[in-house]
Amino acid sequence: MPLTRQEVEHIAELAKLALSQEEIERFQEQLSAILDYAAVLQRLDTEAIPPTAQVIELKNVMRADEVSPSLPVEDVLGNAPSRRDSYFCVPPVIEVAP
């Protein structure tokens, strides 16, 4: 079942990826091929099989509610592409105003 162009564009929107026209076409083709390949899984009856989300049988891994030191502010902001004083700075969202 090949993906439509609209589906590829919708996924790119969900993933917040700007794709070129050429990329959209290429992904449409390649993702369809991979998903076709993955369709082989549908042959297996897994009705009674529990899913594996994690392989190790750990449980109840928790820590005590204790405060440990934070990073120095300059380290927190050290990699910031854009900052104002001690804040990270992001461009505004253009949204429908009230």
Binding site: A53, N60, V67, S68, V76, F88, P98
Partner: protein, 481 residues
């Protein structure tokens, strides 16, 4: 048939833990300088991994128990994927399929009618960073990111704004009783989302969500606005769109944020970084045993045991600290001072002082023992009511015990006949006119003479005794004449 609203609520409550949900940074972010309580985990740095705060799990289970929920035997965390700059990892660690608590209820009482509002689920997640919009840019502070956040979701069981107000008031009170949330809405410790549909009874309306409500007032005002808006549309024969609304605090109106078609696809899946939790029933029972008596149960007991009115019982139990003060006072009360008297003084005089000086009960320096010591003096007639209030006010300011204040101010009530009789005689001698009127049978003039006795004793005369002595003295004169 009239239209009526159907309302459900989602309440987000920050948990009062020391550290954050998944890292050791301090969760007490309110006064911290921007980005000063941040580490690789809550900043979402590449490679950082979360570790669950055990106290946050405990606080959520405690809440679930207080809300009569079933506690999950197996629970886990899922990733809720949505991009936004206040979400450092691009996903929020939350709970989707297996929340910690589900299927509970909270009882409310409106206009004398009791109702159970069903709780669908209580789950645990992490708070987002704080975004502040300034000219041309948004400022991001990650101190709040990762603070433990509990989400309490009700069923759409409420049908009036009054019920909603009562529900959130009760809920806040319960959370504060449990010590899991500060209830401080000005600091964003509780935040609300409502969903409301309007329809004729028996019909189904269209659900509209209102997000980002930060106070009880915003909840009730936005609901009133939205119910009126939907009713107006329906009355005109129109139909309500399924949308998500925001609330414009300044203009007091709802505005559309997102249509049904734009509903986000969160792509939930189990967080592979966090192994599941299995809650041992014995551990849950241990928590259950630690549950304090909750406000409604307490209020009912006060009415039953102490004969208090529903109103007074409600006022006394709304805050755990007030109830504890009241109960300590009742326990310390000597003969002659009953719970009713303590309730009256507490909810009347003490609350008036607290309101006037903007103090909470924790900030009042009066001990329950001192309060009842004061009330005993009043009850035994050693202090007038008026003097009692004066003493209470000084105790409120200085924290000194009542006996000390009474002695220093010379306020002890004169209940000694021998001491009071000469005063009465003197008043009568100095007021021949009123005395004559009294002897002529004009009883109202007694109040004037009482006032004179009080003035002469600077209010310390025992009023009952003074009145009896005045009447006796007048009687003697009548017989003598």
């Amino acid at each position: 048939m009239p239209y009526r609203p159907t309302i459900g609520m989602e309440v987000h409550a920050q948990l009062l833990t020391r550290s954050k949900m998944f890292c050791g940074c301090s969760a007490d972010y309110w006064a911290a300088p921007p980005n000063s309580q941040v580490c690789p985990v809550d900043l979402g740095l590449p490679g950082a991994l979360p570790v669950i705060n055990a106290r946050a799990v405990e606080a959520t289970v405690l809440t679930g128990l207080a809300l009569n929920c079933e506690i999950a035997s197996v629970t886990r965390f899922d990733r809720k994927n949505y991009p936004y700059p206040d979400l450092p990892k691009g996903y929020q660690i939350s709970q989707y399929e297996l929340p910690l608590c589900r299927n509970g209820w909270l009882e409310i009482e409106v206009d004398g009618e009791r109702r159970r509002i069903r709780i669908r689920r209580v789950h645990l997640e992490e708070d987002t960073a704080k975004l502040t919009h300034v000219e041309g840019c948004s400022l991001l502070d990650f101190n709040r990111a990762g603070v433990p956040l509990m989400e309490i979701v009700s069923e759409p069981d409420m049908h009036s704004v009054d019920e909603v107000r009562e529900y959130v008031t009760q809920l806040r009170s319960v959370l504060r009783y449990l010590g899991v949330n500060s209830g401080d809405m000005e600091k964003g410790a509780m935040r609300f989302e409502v969903n409301v549909s309007v329809a004729r009874e028996g019909e189904r309306g269209t659900k509209v969500e209102i997000k980002n409500l930060n106070s009880f007032r915003a909840v009730t005002r936005s609901l009133e606005y939205e119910i009126a808006r939907q009713t107006r549309i329906l009355e005109r024969g129109g139909h309500v769109e399924q949308v998500t609304m925001g609330w414009d605090e300044d203009r007091e109106l709802t505005f559309e944020q997102r249509s049904k078609e734009e509903a986000p696809d969160y792509r939930y899946f189990p967080d592979p970084d966090l192994p599941p939790l299995t809650l041992d029933p014995a551990w849950v029972d241990g928590l259950r045993a630690r549950l304090p008596e909750l406000p409604r149960a307490k209020a009912e007991r006060y009415q039953r045991e102490y004969g208090l009115s529903a109103y007074d019982a409600g006022v006394l139990t709304a805050e755990r600290a007030v109830a504890e003060f009241f109960e300590a006072a009742v326990a310390a009360a000597p003969a002659g001072v009953d719970a009713k008297m303590i309730s009256n003084w507490l909810t009347g005089e003490l609350f008036r002082l607290m309101r006037a000086r903007e103090r909470s009960i924790e900030q009042v320096p009066i001990t329950p023992r001192d309060l009842v010591a004061l009330l005993e003096m009043v009850a035994a007639g050693r202090l007038t009511g008026a003097s009692g209030k004066e003493v209470l006010e000084e105790m409120f300011v200085t924290g000194r015990p009542p006996a000390e204040v009474v002695a220093a101010r010379g306020l002890a009530q004169i209940s000694d006949e021998a001491a009071l009789r000469p005063v009465v005689e003197k008043v009568l001698e100095e007021n021949p006119g009123p005395l004559a009127e009294l002897l002529a049978g004009k009883e109202p003039v007694l109040r004037f003479l009482m006032g004179q006795v009080m003035r002469a004793t600077r209010g310390q005369a025992n009023p009952q005794l003074a009145q009896r002595l005045l009447q006796e003295a007048a009687e003697r004169r009548r017989r003598a004449s």
